[in-house]
Amino acid sequence: MAKSIDVSDLDIYYGDFLAVQNVTIPIAARSVTAFIGPSGCGKSTFLRSLNRMHEVIPGARVEGKVLIDGQDLYGADVDPVAVRRQIGMVFQRPNPFPTMSISDNVLAGQKLNSKRMKKADADELVERSLLRANLWNEVKDRLGKPGSSLSGGQQQRLCIARAIAVQPEVLLMDEPCSALDPISTSAIEDLIHELKEDYTIVIVTHNMQQAARVSEDTAFFNLAGVGEPGHLIERGKTSKIFSNPDDPATEAYIQGRFG
């Protein structure tokens, strides 16, 4: 299942403004890669360019290549909707659909695309996704209740269940725990640990300790100054980045001298 991503010489523009410049990074399959860096350095923008979500903003475009298992995501005849079916995303604030029940939320990826499923298959998919997301035991008695009736941590796990129910190759997570309490955060970090056996996971996080806990590879992004484009400063194995990074800017960030 899980695929690897190869980014080469990617520039991301919002209209004429260059937001992220010249990023080259391989992202290994079936592993967790963390993007760290100070606020505004472009890591979320870069993450969103991996599943063409940045195109939702009018005027956004990229130059460069993003290859998933060798296929260019930005090729001339590539459909962004198909890209997003293969590369799922979990957002910073949990966003379950308020008009749908919990089980309908999990099935949203199928139902909204009018994929017909037999009831037995649908129930099985709901159970499997919720089990995988560590939410099944808490909600199995109230699958018909609205999605917004859960706590914050539960809602985020519901969003993860919803994302994995469509069986993507890659799962992108944009600061998934920043709106949650420490216990929910640790539940989701355990979840990421289990999910990486089947999915390629890329996580953007502000929390360096979290990056050190969950990821195998880390990439450090930074800005030269306000209004300047973001750059990829250094990338490598998490253990190396956090113990003896090559770049002095990385070291300064790790040690908390700026952020």
């Binding site: 599943n51 979500m53 939702v56 009018p58 909707v81 198909a82 890209v83 997003r84 079916r85 293969q86 799922g88 995303m89 979990v90 957002f91 604030r93 966003n95 379950p96 659909f97 308020p98 008009t99 949203a108 990826g109 139902k111 909204l112 695309n113 009018s114 209740k145 609205p146 999605g147 917004s148 009736s149 969003c159 919803r162 994302a163 469509v166």
Partner: protein, 361 residues
């Protein structure tokens, strides 16, 4: 010889109890009610004892109240609280003033129209009726059909326009022109809408045309801008993160709008549409021009005159014929029924809004 000045009295100790104190004098809690009660007593005294007219007595009582309470507060509490009381009294008076026409209309219509209601009133038209008897059956049918026709025209146009403005327009030139023209349309006088419908139908059917469908067209000219405006606001209220969640699942934009955005905004959209219907259902001038007035029931929207409740009320009052009392009573009855229909529509809007609003949290 030295003269000793008399010993000066010791200066009194600086008192700081008032400047640091957290407490202050306050009017008792029953003060506003007591003032109103006193004013009512004054009004009663002026009207019943001295024989002054009711309006004059109420005016004097009101003046007394809005002077007495702030003055009392000034003497006891201080100028800041007195100003607050004065503002409160004036605002309450303004509210009461605004309520007077509403209450008086509802009361009047209920009072005059209730006696007209009967089973015959709802099931008979005015065909072959001269004096007593007859009913609004034809007008009721006409109002329901014409308003339904106007809704069928306006709701799709209005809803799709608002979807375009919010989801696809993004402040481009076309969207700005549409918004401007919709704003202009909200100000069109209803008779102009009627003239437009009449002129349009006269082109195809010749002068003197009267048609229920024309009434629907005229009403939809008035209804579309209301639908566009309210649906636009409701769709804008759907948080963007829901759209993003849907895109991230690989759902195309049109499906996102259809299955996520519209259901989330549904309660607000239904309320807006119902209020738009309630607004046009009572329009008289355009219907007078294009749907006309008739005594018989007409189910055909494409053929000939169709009576409607507001036009019926107007024609009964303005050309009552030989039996003006009966006609006037029927006119009041029609007005009451119209008011009841609008109330029912508002209730339905509230119920639908409650049923469909996103639950949870």
């Amino acid at each position: 010889m030295s003269i000793q000045a008399p010993p000066r009295p010791a200066a009194p100790p600086l008192s700081n109890s008032n400047s640091n104190s957290l407490t202050a004098n306050q009017l008792p809690l029953w003060a506003p009610k007591a003032t109103v009660a006193g004013a009512i007593v004054l009004v009663a005294g002026l009207h019943f004892v001295i024989g002054m007219g009711l309006v004059g007595a109420v005016l004097i009582g009101w003046l007394a109240a809005i002077v007495a309470l702030p003055l009392w507060s000034l003497l006891v509490e201080g100028s800041r609280k007195a100003t607050d009381r004065l503002a409160g009294v004036l605002i309450a008076s303004a509210f009461a003033l605004a309520l007077i026409p509403l209450v008086s209309i509802v009361w009047k219509v209920l009072d005059e129209g209730a006696s007209a209601l009967s089973a015959e009133f709802f099931t008979f038209s005015m065909r072959n009726v001269l004096g007593d008897g007859g009913g609004i059956y034809h007008a009721l049918v006409g109002t329901l059909l014409i308003t339904f026709g106007a809704s069928v025209i306006s709701i799709p146009i209005g809803l799709f326009t608002s979807i375009y403005l919010v989801e696809y327009g993004q402040d481009n030139r076309l969207a700005r022109w549409i918004t401007f023209l919709v704003d202009v349309m909200t100000g069109i006088p209803s008779i102009v809408a009627g003239l437009f419908a009449y002129a349009l139908f006269a082109v195809f059917f010749g002068p003197g045309v009267r048609m229920g469908l024309g009434g629907s067209v005229a009403l939809s000219v008035l209804m579309i801008p209301v639908v566009v405006r309210s649906c636009e606001e409701m769709i804008k209220l759907v948080p963007n993160e829901l759209r993003e969640a849907s895109y991230a699942l690989g759902v195309p934009k049109w499906r996102t709008i259809l299955k996520i955005v519209l259901p989330t905004a549904l309660a607000g959209i239904v309320t807006g549409v119902t209020l738009a219907i309630a607004r046009v259902i009572g329009e008289t001038a355009p219907l007078l021009l294009i749907a006309g007035s008739t005594a018989s029931v007409n189910f055909n929207m494409f053929g000939g005159r169709m009576q409607t409740l507001p036009v019926f009320a107007f024609s009964q009052q303005s050309s009552p014929g030989a039996f003006p009392d009966a006609a006037l009573e029927r006119a009041w009855g029609a007005a009451l029924v119209l008011m009841l229909i609008v109330m029912v529509l508002n209730l339905i809007a509230r119920i639908i809004s409650f049923l469909f609003s996103p639950k949870g949290e």
